[in-house]
């Protein structure tokens, strides 16, 4: 057996015995390191005659190539084994309770309010803001409800002084905006309103409305129907029916009550809709010429529509809540169930 054969046998047996990547590294150093046996052979080639050098060189290079590829192959196999071992050991009980991260939720009323406002802002309505403390003039007189008008009975009022009151609807914002701006304009005005009335499952003395107003040349009742149809479709789904029926508000004429098909019974009649299949959703109408006169708009030139919708009522329908008072209790076990709504703008 030649020296080469013996060396090759030695290398092979070393490689087979290596159990870890670090043992493998020791083998590499033993043969191919700076003072490795093969390295020494290769280094000594210079001292040999040319004929011997070729012969020995060929053998030594062959052995080196063999060793390097064997090392690489073995290293890969061992790494794989070691990785498998590590993965076997680093094992979690994935069913242990996760770390809780606090997540709050929007209140159903403000979330619904924001959603309603967004639908209209996407239709190009601006947002307007108004005070909750109002004067008799803005809340009533400018809206064609002069003193001694029977319609004042429709909205029982909290007074703070003879003149100052808590607004009974968001409609006074219409007046503030029209006093500031000239037509054309389109606004929605969300906010809290107050009525001096008894509280029960479907009535609250403190509740929320979103007011809408569009004024321009050539706006008609048809446009009101179109705008509110788009709103209802987006808010409640494309297949929900709606109807307009005559009603009365002193600040709009013609006035309409808009009913939406009951979401719970699909219009067949249930407890929530009082058996009628319809749920009263909002009041609307064409802005009364007297209101335009109060803000010095020319009622011959401009027409407009206005609407007001009850946020609580929409929230009750959307979240399937039958008693409005649940909203004001703020029990976190109820609030935690409100899904976060994805925003679109």
């Amino acid at each position: 057996m030649s020296d080469w054969a013996r060396l090759q046998e030695e290398v092979t047996s070393d490689l087979q015995q290596a159990r870890t990547t670090s043992e493998l590294e020791a083998i590499r150093v033993k043969y191919l390191g700076r003072k490795g046996r093969l390295t020494e052979v290769l280094r000594s080639l210079a001292k040999l005659s040319e004929g011997q050098r070729r012969l020995v060189g060929q053998e030594a290079n062959a052995l080196r190539d063999f060793l390097e590829s064997a090392l690489t192959a073995r290293r890969q196999a061992l790494r794989q084994k070691e990785l498998e071992q590590t993965l076997k050991e680093e094992r979690l009980d994935v069913t242990l309770p996760p770390i809780p991260f606090p997540l709050g939720h929007r209140h159903p009323i403000t979330q619904t309010l924001s959603e309603v406002v967004e639908i209209f802002t996407h239709m190009g309505f601006a947002i307007a803001d108004g005070p909750e403390l109002e004067t008799d003039y803005y809340n009533f007189t400018a809206l064609n409800i002069p003193p001694d008008h029977p319609a004042r009975d429709m909205q029982d009022t909290f007074y703070l002084t003879e003149e100052w009151l808590l607004r009974t609807h968001t409609s006074p914002v219409q007046i503030h905006v029209m006093e500031r701006q000239s037509p054309p304009l389109r606004i929605v005005a969300p906010g809290r309103v107050f009525r001096h009335e008894a509280i029960d499952a479907s009535h609250s003395a403190v509740f929320h409305q979103v007011e809408g107003l569009a004024v321009d040349e050539g706006i008609s009742f048809s446009d009101l129907k179109g705008t509110l149809s788009l709103f209802v479709r987006h808010c409640f789904g494309p297949s929900v029916g709606l109807r307009f029926r005559p009603s009365y508000f002193p600040f709009t004429e013609p006035s309409a009550e808009v009913d939406v098909q009951c979401l719970l019974c699909q219009g067949t009649g249930c407890r929530t809709c009082g058996g009628s299949g319809w749920i009263e959703m909002l009041g609307a109408g064409m802005v009364h010429p007297k209101v335009f006169e109060a803000v010095h708009y020319d009622p011959e030139r401009y027409t407009g529509f206005a609407f007001g919708l009850g946020v609580e009522r929409i929230a009750m329908l959307k979240f399937g809540v039958e008693d409005m008072r649940l909203f004001y209790e703020n029990d976190v076990r109820l609030l935690e169930q409100i899904p976060r709504r994805w925003a679109w703008g």
Partner: protein, 695 residues
Amino acid sequence: MKVLFNWLNELVPLDLPPEKVAQTLTLCGLEVSQIESRGNDTILDLEVTPNRPDCMSHVGIARELASALRRPLRLPEIRLRELPGIETIQIGVKDLKGCPRYIGRVIREVTVAPSPPWLAQRLLYCGFRPINNVVDVTNYVLLEAGHPLHAFDLARFAGPELWVRRARKGETLKALDEQERTLDDQVLVIADGERPVALAGIVGGEESAVSEDTHDLLLESAIFDPILIRRTARRFGIRTESSYRFERGVGWQGTAWASQRAAALLQDLAGGKVSKARGVAPNPWSPVTIDLRIARVQQLLGVALDSAAVAENLRRLQFTIEPTKPAAMSQPATLRVTVPAHRVDVTQEVDVLEELARVYGYHEIPVRYPRFPALEVTIPPLWGIEQLCREVLIGLGHQEAVTNSFLNQAQARPFLPVGAAGAVPLNPLSEEWAALRPSLLPGLLSCVTTNLRRQVPSVRLCEVGRVFWREGNRNHDTNGGLGVGGGLKEGRRVAWVLAGDETPHWMAPPRPINFYALTGMVSHLFTALGISGHEWNATLAPWLHPGQSADVTLNGEVIGAVGQLHPGLTSLWESPVPLWLAELDLEALGRSVSLRQLKPPPRFPSVLRDLAIVLDEAIPYGQVQQVLHTVEGNLLEKTVLFDVYRGPQVPKEKKSLTLSLTFRHSERTLTDREIEQLLQHLREALQKQLGALPR
């Protein structure tokens, strides 16, 4: 208002089930809120809007049905024998504005008795209590025709005269509700020769009321001024079927018909001998005419109807339309519309347009998606800030709450701004609703403690909303923005309240909510809003624990306060765990937010060094930070406090602080020597200014 199906059926042939009739009425604008079967009849409960007093009767409803269903209206036939020579009373009206029309009719020799069952039953079903045939007939005609009537016992009159006049100051009247009221010249009364016998149009006097001993009657059918009636009814707190209708307006023509109808019924049911009507109506009825421009139909309703179609529709509602003059080229088409007498609500062109839309059918008006012009974008700045505050606090684990704007006085008082008074409603719903909230905190506290009582272990609630108070001087109002008159103020706040530990987890010990969680949340919110430079200072807020609370100061202005609920208030809000509160002024936040200019990320490395010092217990950490940043504000990028130690390693009344300092130069790498110099400066400054020694 309740109406009976069978009664309606007598006035207009229906041959429809009650549900269909109800639906027809609802779509006419007379919403039927309830349908109830009683005996062999069906009661429809209607919501009549205040503009339609003409619909406050069976004839009124039947008239609407007749027009909607295109059927004839059949009024009951009146067979009245008027006898001469018994109308022995003089009638005079002294206030013709208050009473433009009065018809009196004397009816003698009536026999007062219970009404026949058919009549009594109808009254009962409509919610009226049957009394006797005379009173019942007046109520029956009220329900039938909508015209209020009153019957006086003529024997109780002082002499054969009746006056409609203003009361004299100091006159009194005991009405049917047995209350005696003192009157003055703001009140219209019916009086005999001496004193008032009725509050005109509202309620009769007790003394002249019809009783079992009554033989001779005076039957009144009149029209009174709506505003006068409304004021008197409100002033005396009396609401009657009569005042309700007069306030809204009663049709002129109905006066005579109702008088005849009631007299005929009294003749048939009570055996009365009826006189001729004696009336006062100096100004005869002149019908209202309105010019309707056909172009307005398209402009307002969005539906193209020609003159003929408009006329045809309006005629169904008993409007009279004069034949249109052929429109000249230059003159747009106009119709002259005469309003029927019962429609007191129709006085201007737009009223006619609404009637046209109603009879044409709202559902027939086409749906059009409007082509809106582009407009300037206006969104109130605080709208966005409110939304962001909500989102940030929700992200910190708060549930958003919506609490009542009203509180009781005890809850409101401790939260009033210094020197301010509470804003209170003059007519509160109850003691619990006697004050408007001067802060969002009391309402949140109530909700948090309710949750704790319901065994929710950890509660975080936040709210965004308006608060109210009244400045000391009621006559001056200098505040802009939402400030209002009468010293009343309206403000906007964001607030949150926390109680209980963080949710426990098996890997970590329970972490309590404490003061530093609160200040951390405020800073977190400010970072989100792009606000910096706020400071924590001792607070005077009386609702907070003085040792565990702070004012939040921004640019020298106190914009809120945070801390633990004052122990003196825990009797109002009982809790087994401390309650932590924060409230900020949204308008102040709105003034401080600004769009930040972005700086590119630093290109040169930072250097971290620790600094440990020992100093007096009484020196707040804020002062240490202030010294560090004053001395080396440019190069000291960040300080992080990572240890506070008190114990055997440091002297008594002292504490040890360990800080991690980050230094960075924006244009080059700092050298070790520079860093050592910087640290040396800082140590010297801390020692000189705060007596802090290195440790």
